[in-house]
């Protein structure tokens, strides 16, 4: 794994790699180099399988993080490539021509995070949600509890207990001393 990273480091900008295991590593790369790196990994280094493409919403930094996980089946290596996108009008580069399955991931990200992937096939069609008009629901500024309370009726009678005080009352009714 380290040799692969050394080879890539000669030509691309890589961040500090995070080794989760000896065969699993994450590294941040620049957005304009991600396609070149992925192509090289696929064609030269044997990372033939795109395990997943997913996103993380770093709302405090106003960033979206795309994680491309690629896998080398022969050598049993997994490499995660992180790309940071601006959260405002987030647009990623489509990689459906490298892995056709990426089109599905990109369609999902378009719907759930609102990240655009121009050129990806059928990316603007609805994927799971039907007739969704609100914010993309996986964004962290979308409040799912508030949305569900404003949309669906509650049945009265549902109570929420704070686990700490509730268990304290149940298990130790006379604690603190004198309280009952």
């Amino acid at each position: 794994m380290r040799e692969i990273l050394y080879r890539l480091k000669d030509r691309y900008h890589l961040g500090t790699p995070t080794f989760q295991r000896t065969d699993l590593c994450f590294v941040t790369v620049r957005r304009d180099e991600i396609r070149a790196i992925l192509t090289e990994l696929r064609d030269m280094e044997g990372f033939t399988h795109l395990t997943f493409l997913t996103a993380v919403d770093w709302i405090e930094e106003q960033l979206f993080q795309l994680t491309y996980m690629v896998n080398n089946r022969e050598a049993n290596l997994s490499l995660g490539l992180r790309v940071l996108l601006d959260r405002e009008d987030a647009t990623g580069d489509t990689i459906h021509d490298l892995w056709p399955t990426a089109a599905t991931y990109q369609r999902e990200l378009r719907e759930m995070f609102g990240i655009k992937f121009p050129g990806s096939p059928r990316v603007d069609e609805e994927f799971i949600l039907e007739g969704w008009t609100d914010l993309p629901p996986y964004r962290r500024d979308f409040d799912t509890l508030a949305y569900s309370q404003q949309t669906y009726n509650d049945r009265p009678g549902r109570v929420t207990h704070d686990p700490k005080t509730h268990m304290q009352k149940t298990l130790y009714p006379s604690y603190p001393k004198g309280a009952k």
């Binding site: 007739g131 008009t133 609100d134 629901p137 979308f142 409040d143 508030a146 949305y147 509650d154 049945r155």
Partner: protein, 229 residues
């Protein structure tokens, strides 16, 4: 509640009707110009009617006895309850010995078992299936998801109360109820029907406008007729 961001307001935007379903003018092969409205032309627009009771009590009681002993379940699984129904219809729990049987299409069934959470997308299909079933028809809700949302109480895409959208005759509590609980629910449903209280379909016909308003409030891309015969 504490953890609700009260600044968040949902946006309510109309979803435009799909293009192929919009009313429009078309030219027929022999050159006529005709107006078509796909949602109206192929479907009956009549609302459901309340089924009147029989002329005397003893006849109505006989009908109810007969209805109670003829439960045909639509094999429509939503959520995890669909898995509980498999042992129920096979030798392990064997619901067939009570005369309760599964059918593959709504046209041949009269009991819709909503077996777990309903996302908005599935709700649309469930409504459609329910409306296609012949009367007398009953709805059974399984699990806490259909009662008050259960573990999906804060989900953006899952309804919390089934009886807002469909008339429920019997709830079976649990998460998930075991097949024994379901069998007990069937027995209770039979009792309810024998007593003449299984009036869900009539309730649906009486409060049809209210039910439709509730359904359309959550199903934004309503692309089917108001009543699916």
């Amino acid at each position: 509640m504490k953890d609700v961001d009260d600044k968040f307001r949902k946006t309510d935007t109309e979803v435009p009707l799909r293009e192929e379903l919009r009313p429009r003018k078309v030219t027929t092969p022999d050159g006529q110009e005709i107006d078509i409205d796909p949602l109206r032309d192929y479907f009956c627009e009549a609302k459901p009617k309340v089924h009147p009771k029989a002329y005397s009590k003893i006849v109505e009681d006989f009908y109810n006895w007969a209805r109670a002993n003829s439960l045909w379940i639509l094999g429509f699984g939503t959520g995890c309850g669909a898995i509980e129904m498999r042992p129920l219809m096979t030798p392990r729990f064997d619901a067939y010995r009570y005369g309760i049987q599964w059918r593959p299409t709504p046209r041949q069934a009269n009991l819709l078992v909503i077996s777990g959470y309903l996302s908005v997308k599935t709700l649309k299909r469930a409504i459609r299936a329910y409306e296609q079933m012949p009367q007398p028809k009953y709805v059974m809700g399984l699990g806490s998801c259909t009662i008050n949302g259960g573990m999906y109480w804060d989900s953006y895409n899952t309804i919390k109360r089934l009886d807002d959208y469909l008339p429920v005759d019997m709830y079976v509590a649990g998460c998930m109820p075991r097949p024994e609980a379901l069998l007990h629910g069937f027995m209770e449903l039979k009792r309810v029907i024998r007593e003449g209280k299984g009036e869900g379909a009539n309730k649906y016909a009486e409060n049809f406008d209210q039910y439709k308003a509730n359904q359309k409030a959550v199903i934004k891309d309503w692309d089917m007729p108001d009543y699916n015969w």
